[in-house]
């Protein structure tokens, strides 16, 4: 029953993603794999969230665990019926021929004959090898530290143990005795782990390990496939993936069972969905993308407190980026976003309101807060930590700033319809960074300690989204290669003509 219900959540999530972003939008048979990978990247974490939620229901409501799992199964049936009905409706619409604009985002022309098809096949092979190798490395490393890293065993897995073993007393960890475990942290990750243990029939280190690696893989997959679809370019996705996988700290945190990679995934997923929605200029508004974006953003809030800041900032940024002419459309986008966010935001609010103690960073504020905000020394220290942290971020052999700089110089930026979305994403990232900065400035904890222990993880949360925005902004390697090919052809033609002219002149 437990296993069936948990599996059904994957189907529910798959149906939800299909309903929101469309099932048959990919017209080319060869792009179906990438499109399925895109949908799976979005569906899998959502499925985990749903299964975690149904594990939590008996703690919230007077229902037994079996009843809760039955509800989970029933939800998957509802999703199936809804999906089938929608599929039929879509088939009817397809008969009347969709306008091509609607499929703008989904058209994959990477299979088109290009002068670099050999390079493409080699790059695809390299991408597969790199992905498989990274997963193998992550598994190897995880098997060496099965308990995970700092934050995983004293916070996330500890909370999971209370949820799994505690029964009706699951909330005993909210006691002040265990205040160091951050009992105010949302329960997304602990619930997944606890549900995983309940499915496995006992506590095993492999559940949090696999969840951790799964989020790393989903982030990589989503980053790659979304760029392939949005920029019609395999190489844009390839370049982004190499940058992400090549970030040691990303690999590290994809194995140590912390919440930063899942949070980074939800940031990315939200902005990918928003970008898909904004790029699709069709009428009526493609509401599904914004509903899904809202769901992903609310899951960010359900994962870590930083997610709440992200939700607020995203709404503000959408308002700031909407032009007056488009204000109606922007408001509708935000309305659908909020609609999608409501279920998990409500759950988050319920937990915070009914169970969790106040967040230490908020409850620790007082009369000294303003003094801290205007303290120049704190400002300099925090700013310096941001600069140094960003410069040395990732623990790369070659600094990512150098690699991205070289990439930018060679590829150059491109005027593209996606540039509006790029501005939105950079604005969101900047505002989130400002938010983090203010949290550091006003932290009731020792500032040096706080910066030292969390800066790299905060940057890691933003890293996949930054890469997404960067590669969306740049001209794609495919465009650059095709342009180079055209230029070479032109110069060859002109040189042939000049040779012919000189030959005819000699005659």
């Amino acid at each position: 029953m437990n296993f069936c219900a948990a599996s059904s959540s994957l189907w529910t999530a798959w149906c939800f993603v299909t309903l929101t972003i469309g099932a048959n939008s990919s017209p080319l048979a060869t792009s179906r794999f990438a499109y399925r990978a895109l949908r799976l990247s979005l569906a899998m974490p959502l499925a985990l969230a749903i299964s975690g939620f149904f594990f939590f229901v008996p703690a919230l409501l007077p229902v037994s665990r079996d009843t809760s799992y039955s509800l989970e199964l029933a939800l998957s049936l509802v999703a199936t019926v809804w999906c089938l009905r929608r599929h039929k409706a879509n088939a009817l619409v397809k008969e009347n021929a969709l306008p091509p604009e609607i499929e703008y985002s989904m058209v994959d022309d990477t299979t088109a004959q290009t002068p670099n098809s050999q390079l493409l096949s080699r790059a695809k092979l390299a991408l597969w090898l790199l992905s498989v190798w990274s997963v193998a490395v992550a598994l190897l490393y995880a098997s060496q530290i099965p308990e995970g890293g700092l934050d995983s065993w004293p916070i996330w897995n500890l909370h999971a143990r209370f949820l799994y073993y505690g029964g009706a007393a699951w909330n005993a960890y909210l006691s002040p005795v265990l205040s160091w475990t951050h009992p105010d942290y949302p329960l997304f990750l602990p619930l997944l782990v606890a549900r995983g243990w309940s499915v496995c029939g006992g506590e095993t280190a492999w559940v949090p390990i696999l969840i951790s690696i799964l989020f790393g893989a989903a982030t990589a997959s989503l980053l790659t496939t979304s760029l392939i679809f949005l920029r019609h370019s395999f190489f844009a996705g390839f370049a982004a993936l190499t940058m992400l996988i090549g970030t040691p700290i990303f690999l590290l945190y994809s194995t140590v069972q912390c919440a930063d990679v899942p949070l980074g995934f939800f940031f990315l997923a939200t902005l990918v969905c928003v970008t898909f929605g904004r790029e699709n200029a069709s009428e009526p508004l493609p509401a599904g993308y914004f509903v899904l974006a809202g769901t992903m953003a609310s899951l960010a809030a359900w994962t870590k407190n930083e997610g709440l800041l992200f939700v607020v900032i995203l709404v503000v940024a959408q308002l700031l980026c909407g032009t007056r002419r488009q204000i109606k459309r922007t408001m509708r986008q935000i309305a659908f976003f909020v609609l999608g966010a409501l279920p998990f935001l409500f759950l988050c609010w319920w937990f915070k309101h009914a169970f969790a103690p106040p967040t230490d960073l908020v409850s620790g504020q007082g009369a000294s807060t303003f003094a801290k905000l205007i303290d120049r020394a704190r400002f300099r220290k925090t700013a310096w930590a941001f600069i140094v942290g960003s410069g040395s971020f990732g623990d790369w052999i070659l600094p990512p700033a150098f690699l991205l700089g070289v990439y930018g110089v060679v590829m150059k930026t491109q005027r593209h319809r996606a540039n509006q979305s790029v501005s939105l994403i950079f604005l969101v990232l900047a505002l989130v960074a400002v938010g983090y900065f203010l949290v550091y400035m006003t932290t009731p904890r020792d500032l040096s300690w706080h910066l030292r222990t969390s800066m790299s993880r905060l940057l890691l949360q933003l890293w996949p989204t930054f890469l997404f925005a960067f590669f969306l902004w740049m001209r794609t390697p495919d465009d650059a290669l095709n342009e180079a090919f055209v230029e070479t052809s032109k110069s060859e033609t002109s040189s042939t003509r000049s040779v012919e002219r000189s030959a005819s002149a000699a005659n």
Binding site: V137, L178, M411, A484
Partner: protein, 178 residues
């Protein structure tokens, strides 16, 4: 004659070179990651550590699956964390299974105090320095890693470590306060 300069700076060469650079950087990073974090000696040291510890413990008569960990008196923060991580979930259950907990006392005074206060119902002393094969060499990376809870026991080398029987109705506060 081929103009090497023009070939080198051809636009498509630059683009391919950048893609290759990213790929090579990612590959090198992966290799470096493996070198730094997946060293075989780290794995064997950890495995040996656990094996030796558990064997020693079970030779002393503790049944498997009944062990929790707790540190008491003068414990470092890390030990305190680990204690609560491993034991706390079991304490909240009325049918908690942990019968024994590992205590760490950093000095004999604290140990004597604990005995006097009756907090040690019964105990077994383990010579961890011997059990862990200290003479086989210590890997500084492993020894000082704060991230691996398995290393807690190893870091205790030289201190007095005891297993005490955990009494039912013991609360978390009883266990962690000196």
């Amino acid at each position: 004659m081929i103009n090497l300069n023009s070939v080198f700076w051809r636009a498509d060469f630059k683009i391919k070179a950048v893609l290759l650079l990213l790929l090579v950087a990612a590959l090198l990073t992966l290799l470096d990651f493996m070198r730094r974090f997946i060293a075989p000696e780290v794995e064997s040291a950890t495995t040996r550590l656990l094996k030796n510890t558990l064997n020693t413990v079970h030779q002393q008569g503790l049944p498997r699956g009944t062990l929790g960990f707790v540190s008491a008196g003068g414990a470092q923060l890390q030990d305190y964390y680990y204690a609560q991580y491993a034991l706390a979930p079991r304490l909240v259950r009325p049918d908690a299974k942990a019968q024994w907990v590992l205590c760490r006392f950093q000095n004999k005074t604290l140990l004597a105090e604990a005995r006097r206060a009756g907090r040690l119902a019964s105990w077994i002393e383990i010579d961890f320095a011997h059990a862990l094969g200290k003479e086989e060499g210590w890997n500084p990376t492993v020894q000082h890693s704060a991230q691996n809870p398995l290393l807690f026991v190893r870091d205790c080398g030289g201190d007095i470590l005891l297993f005490r029987r955990w009494r039912k109705n013991t609360t978390l506060n009883h266990l962690v306060s000196p």
